[in-house]
């Protein structure tokens, strides 16, 4: 087995476009779950609606990129309001059910044949991202990087912009959570009744948290769609949310830097497991039939599912988390 290549791929995967998308989306999820205790199992719905908001406003209405960007984020605000109004007054698991259902509704509606001319059906939307690449300082055909870490120009641009955005939203969330506003959110997480007794409008605070985290999730969706130069409905399927959850829990829920750390570790581990599996097949230790066809792909999901369950059982605070920050009380 070529360990050098395996480790190289793992490092690249840890800093890749996918990792940065996960990092941003996990920052949003951390606002929801980590700081406020909201069970959002439809983060991918926020990503999808913003990505489609950008894609549709550019391809259908010829909006300039900055306007499309704002429309995309506003779509996430709308979705948060739509989900929050019915569920935030109810017990936490209602939000879980409604968000997962909503993310599936969004995907099914956008990929439907009936709206094909508007949202592109199952082919998605293509050819909208050019406007976002006008500030790209890199040559698309050149490779950039250092040492053996090299990526092509467009990729380098997305990685650079993406990680800058990830750090910006992380700092924003850090500042917000140090503010009195953030302390109210944490107090709602710890004991909603106590926060209410002190005269805080818990419902409205939870709504603000849902909107903030949702918009950050939408930002992740926009980065993903621009990075891929396409909006594919099936890139926004429910398992993506569970991947993001796993990344967040891996890093440690309710910590400032945990989404970024978690996303990097998550993609590094995923790449390691993929590549080691391939290596074992190539060297004949595992018969080729084990990963033939789509089977190799499903192994990845199994590992994530098992990992998520085991993490929650044995180390719910993640690698760097603090057990006391981990809201696990039911209410």
């Amino acid at each position: 087995m070529d360990w050098e290549a395996i480790i190289r791929n793992a490092v690249i995967a840890g800093l890749s476009r996918e990792a940065v998308v996960f990092a941003i989306a996990a920052v949003g999820l951390n606002v929801h779950f980590g700081y406020t205790g909201l069970l959002n199992f439809g983060q991918v719905g926020f990503m999808a609606i913003s990505a489609y908001g950008v894609g549709i406003s550019i391809t259908q209405y010829n909006a300039p990129p900055w306007l499309a960007f704002i429309i995309g984020l506003l779509a996430a605000v709308l979705l948060a309001l739509l989900l929050g109004v019915p569920t935030l007054r109810l017990r936490a698991d209602y939000l879980a059910i409604v968000t997962i259902a909503a993310s599936e509704i969004i995907r099914l509606v956008f990929r439907s044949v009936a709206l094909r001319n508007w949202s592109g059906g199952s082919n998605g939307i293509n050819g909208f991202a050019d406007g976002f690449y006008v500030w790209n300082p890199f040559e698309p055909t050149e490779q950039y990087g250092f040492g053996w870490f090299k990526v092509f120009g467009n990729q380098a641009y997305i990685i650079l912009v993406g990680w800058t955005l990830a750090i910006l939203v992380t700092v924003l969330v850090w500042l917000l959570m140090r503010s009195p506003w953030g302390r109210v959110l944490k107090s709602i997480r710890e004991d909603e009744d106590a926060a209410r007794a002190l005269g805080k409008n818990a419902y409205w605070y939870k709504m603000q948290s849902l909107i903030l985290g949702g918009v950050i999730g939408g930002l992740a969706g926009i980065v993903l769609s621009v990075g891929q130069s396409t909006v594919q409905p099936d890139s926004y399927s429910p398992p993506v949310t569970f991947f993001i959850w796993t990344a967040l829990i891996l890093g440690g829920v309710g910590r400032v830097w945990s989404p970024i750390v978690g996303a990097i570790i998550f993609w590094t581990l995923l790449s390691l497991s993929d590549n080691i599996l391939d290596g074992l097949v190539d060297t004949g230790i595992i018969p080729a039939a084990v990963t033939a066809g789509t089977r190799g792909g499903s192994v990845r999901f199994m590992i994530v599912g098992l990992g998520l369950a085991l993490l929650m059982i044995f180390r719910p605070q993640g690698i760097f988390g603090d057990r006391n920050e981990m809201m696990l009380e039911d209410r």
């Binding site: 059910i97 044949v113 192994v299 999901f301 599912g305």
Partner: protein, 434 residues
């Protein structure tokens, strides 16, 4: 819906077969009076309750591709018509719809014009699928379609209700929302498929053993995973995330083993509909309805009359009180897991029988189960039943107005709306659940 399409497809296939047969007979009949070397022919008839009735006196006009008249014919007492054409080439056959008897018409979207190519020495059959045409009695067939969809909706709703029992009971006794419940549905269907198709057992023993295995796996899941978690005092939300992890694991293990394409069981896959009044239902749908009703009745009686059922209700009402009055709470929860999983497995088998077995069926159904349970009121046994049937009927009937691909979207949207209007559900008590 798929069954409706299947039904329509069967009807079309039958009609084609009829025309082919008719073509043969017509050929034989025509042979006595010197058939033309090239021509077009057909038999016009209408499907009625007691067989096919010929349609007499309808004018058929044949022209060449560029519109020059070739000939015309009028259907005889057998409904047969024949037009000779001068030679091979492309011809246009038009049915004169003004001559059709009242109440008979072509289906919607059929203009009654056929363009076809005649090969040398060919007398080609032409099919006009006549029935109660769109224009003739649209309202009648719309009502019939609505009725058919309603009954299929009830069937779907009963299935959802049966699968929802496990989810409701587990939630009632432990407070856990089990996201892995959908995978138990898939698991039952796939295990039955393995015994039925891979091992060659008959469907019924395969289904029975699959249900037993699903129940056993449910029990083991409680014994091996959730009972230790409860003992360690792991919070419900952590347990919920664990069920999500397990569902992801199980779903992709099933994909790995079963592969992606949906498949049907070896027996009962294709059945003709049995006419019941104005609607058609295959026997397996009737069985599905019967079995679901039986199971729901059995669970209802168990909850009301038997000792273990009363214990379940006691644990749901107040776990501590139940424990202190001598009920073995852990054992009750174990029974709930096993029974709920078994019923989910049975639901999966019946769903797989009616539609097909696929690796993603459980997840899709889980969202509908959630919709049904929340609509009826989370934790209320009869509410879940009513809610599920409403969801099933809503899904099927909504295809009258929205595209089939979006029918589940309607149900999920209804879930969101219900939470705004009446968060405790149809039958839930208006207590504080926030």
């Amino acid at each position: 819906m798929a069954t409706i399409f299947a039904g329509m497809w069967r009807a079309v296939a039958a009609a084609v077969a009829v025309v082919l047969l008719v073509g043969l007979f017509a050929g034989v009949a025509g042979a006595q009076e010197e058939p033309p070397e090239t021509g077009v022919q057909g038999r016009l008839q209408q499907r009625t309750e007691d067989g096919n009735a010929p349609i007499v006196g309808v004018r058929i006009v044949v022209t060449t591709a560029d519109g020059a008249a070739v000939g015309e014919a009028v259907s005889d007492t057998e409904g047969v018509w024949l037009v000779a054409v001068p030679g091979p080439g492309e011809y246009v056959v038009t049915i004169d719809q003004a001559t059709l008897p009242e109440g008979v018409g072509l289906p919607e979207g059929d203009d009654g014009v056929r363009t076809l190519t005649i090969n040398p020495r060919q007398v080609r059959g032409v099919l006009f699928p006549l029935g109660e045409g769109a224009g003739a009695s649209e309202r009648g067939s719309q009502v019939r379609l609505a009725l058919q969809l309603f009954v299929e909706g009830v069937k779907l709703g009963l299935l959802i209700a049966m699968m929802a029992i496990g989810l409701s009971l587990i939630f009632g006794t432990t407070g856990l929302v089990n996201f892995a419940h959908g995978e138990m549905v898939t698991f039952g269907a796939v295990v039955a498929f393995w015994f039925n198709v891979s091992l060659g057992w008959h469907f019924i023993p395969a289904a029975l053993i699959a249900i037993a295995i699903a129940a056993a796996v449910g029990g083991l899941l409680d014994l091996g995973v959730f009972r230790p978690l409860r003992r360690r005092g792991v919070g419900l939300i952590a347990q919920l995330v664990i069920t999500i992890g397990l569902s992801l694991l199980a779903r992709y293990v099933i994909l790995y083993v079963f592969r992606g394409d949906p498949r049907s069981y070896a027996q009962y896959a294709i059945q003709n509909g049995i006419p019941i009044g104005p609607i058609l239902l295959p026997a397996k749908d009737l069985w599905s309805i019967g079995i679901s009703v039986l199971m729901l009745l059995a669970v209802g009686l168990t909850l009301q009359k038997t000792k273990v059922g009363k214990a379940m209700r006691a644990v749901s009402d107040n776990r501590d009180l139940a424990e202190s009055s001598g009920i073995d709470v852990q054992r009750v929860i174990l029974v709930v897991w096993a029974v709920g999983s078994g019923l989910a497995g049975l639901g999966g088998v019946l769903w797989g029988l009616g539609e097909s077995v696929s690796w993603l069926m459980g997840f899709r159904l889980l969202l509908l189960i959630f919709a049904g349970v929340i609509l009826g009121g989370l934790g209320t046994a009869y509410g879940a039943l009513v809610g599920s049937i409403v969801v099933g009927v809503f899904i099927q009937m909504s295809t009258l107005v929205i595209p089939t691909e979006l029918k589940n979207v309607g149900a999920l949207a209804m879930l969101v709306i219900i939470l705004v209007v009446r968060p405790q559900g149809i039958l839930g008590r208006a207590e504080r659940i926030g």
